[in-house]
């Protein structure tokens, strides 16, 4: 059997062609092959959420998928959200609310929050905490992360109201 299989993936808008061993985890492909070390690896069995990325617009655990399975897919990692100079709105909310301390869980938290903000109303803290329940953080006690999500949710809802008003005109 041939050891390596060619794959084509788009990561943060950049097209990549690589040959990978089937056993290579997507998380290791991102970190070791593409050198995108923003995606963190905590537990490697789907429990901690640190390696959460977006695959074709949905959050997934990068440690529970093989790179070869992502052939033809569009991936977004934390590097695709914003930069230190120009953070995106969610990253700014984390910054403003002090929603991180050591930062290890933060890439996974951001990707998880991005997906839950696009899929769920998150109208109360119970829903927000439910959405965060698959990501472990050992520093913050979660409270500040909940606050950041609340802030970003309010911005999202305000934007929706704005858009609706614009369309009505």
């Amino acid at each position: 059997m041939s050891d390596r299989i060619g794959i084509e993936v788009t990561v943060n808008g950049i097209h990549h062609l690589h040959e990978v061993e089937p056993r290579l985890l997507l998380s290791d492909f991102l970190r070791h092959t593409l050198m995108l070390t923003g995606t963190h690896v905590g537990c490697e069995h789907g429990v901690c959420g640190a390696c959460t990325i977006m695959l074709n617009g949905d959050s997934i655990r990068a440690c529970l998928m093989f790179a070869v399975q992502a052939d033809g897919c569009e991936i977004q990692t934390v590097e695709g959200l914003g930069s230190i100079e120009k953070m995106n709105s969610l990253q700014e909310a984390f910054h403003a609310c002090h929603a991180l301390q050591c930062g290890f869980c933060t890439p996974g938290m951001l990707m998880t929050c991005k997906d839950m903000l696009q899929k769920y109303p998150l109208q109360n803290d119970a829903q927000i905490r439910d959405g965060l329940s698959g990501n472990l953080c050992r520093c913050t006690g979660y409270t500040h992360i909940v606050e950041a999500v609340r802030l970003e949710r309010d911005r999202r809802d305000a934007k929706q109201v704005e858009n609706a008003a614009e369309q009505a005109q």
Partner: protein, 293 residues
């Protein structure tokens, strides 16, 4: 924490997948969502030499209402698709409710119904829901097709009636009785974790009497259970306090939970008692129209 080498195949049809399984002998393993398989491979608890990826088989994740009012669910239907399906919500509100408790969003985005029931974790929601909904599971192999009732499908912890080289392709749910009341109640350590205990109830009530009762429990035995003795007690009765108490006791007699690091046997039994009493009451209210939420 890295899986050993394997050969990777990506069949484009059920026929190709089944042929690949047959060719791989006992060395082949199907990967669907991979949410249970990949952790086991990362820990090297499993090391298949051929991994057959069914994720690209067209139509395998379809969720389709049937002419008889039932539902066909393709094995590759993701948990998030079931969670958000309007058809599921309309036809099987109990399944819709249970799906909210299945794992976390990133897991629900990948995990599949076929994978979950084949993995047969006794603390997972879908195996119990399959028994509660009298599901029929379709398995295909190079030898042909087999249909297995959910009642017979779960053999033990992490063991389902999937024979050598068989692939689960589809789950059929028969229609629920008209106006049936339902409830799903679960306790887990953390939202999305495996249940310490959970129960599902379906009650059909006519003229103040139960004409069909289904009671499912999970997390308290090697497999999810239907408690036939308790279902029989409810039959042809109103849900008065004495009948309810008798039913709850029948449930408790039928289970023998075990102690593990998550909870003691006594605590699981206590949870089951609290949850089943609550669920039967709620299903009764929904069936009799006293609670239409």
């Amino acid at each position: 924490m890295k899986p050993p080498k394997f050969e990777y195949l990506r069949p484009a049809s059920i026929e190709e997948a089944v042929a690949a399984l047959a060719a791989a002998g006992d060395e082949g393993k199907i990967i669907a969502g991979g949410q249970s398989l990949v952790p086991m491979m990362n820990f090297r608890l499993l090391s298949p030499s051929v991994v057959i990826d069914i994720n690209r088989i067209p139509g395998l994740g379809d969720i389709q209402e049937q002419p008889d009012g039932g539902l066909k669910i393709g094995a590759l239907a993701r948990h998030h698709a079931l969670e958000t399906s309007e058809t599921v919500k309309k036809l099987y509100p109990v399944l819709h409710a249970a799906m909210q408790q299945v794992a976390h969003l990133a897991i629900r985005n990948r995990g599949t119904i076929g994978g979950s029931i084949t993995h047969a974790d006794p603390a997972a929601e879908l195996p119990m829901l399959m028994k509660l909904l009298d599901a029929r599971i379709k398995l295909v192999s190079s030898r042909g097709t087999r249909i297995v009732d959910a009642e017979d499908f779960f053999l033990g912890a992490l063991s389902a009636d999937v024979q050598e080289n068989e692939l689960v392709t589809e789950i059929y749910l028969p229609p629920l009785p008209q106006g049936a009341g339902w409830a799903f109640e679960e306790v887990a350590r953390r939202a999305g974790d495996f249940a310490l205990a959970a129960v599902g109830v379906i009650l059909q009530v006519e003229q103040g009497k139960v004409v069909e009762a289904r009671i499912g429990v999970m997390g308290v035995a090697d497999t999810p259970l239907r408690i036939n003795d308790a279902e029989t007690i409810l039959f042809n009765q109103a849900c008065d306090p004495a009948t309810l108490e008798q039913t709850v006791q029948a449930v408790l007699q039928a289970i023998e939970p075990s102690t593990d690091l998550h909870a003691s046997a006594e605590y699981r039994k206590h949870l089951t008692e609290v949850l089943i009493r609550r669920a039967i009451g709620l299903a009764w209210l929904r069936a009799t129209g006293e609670n239409n939420e």
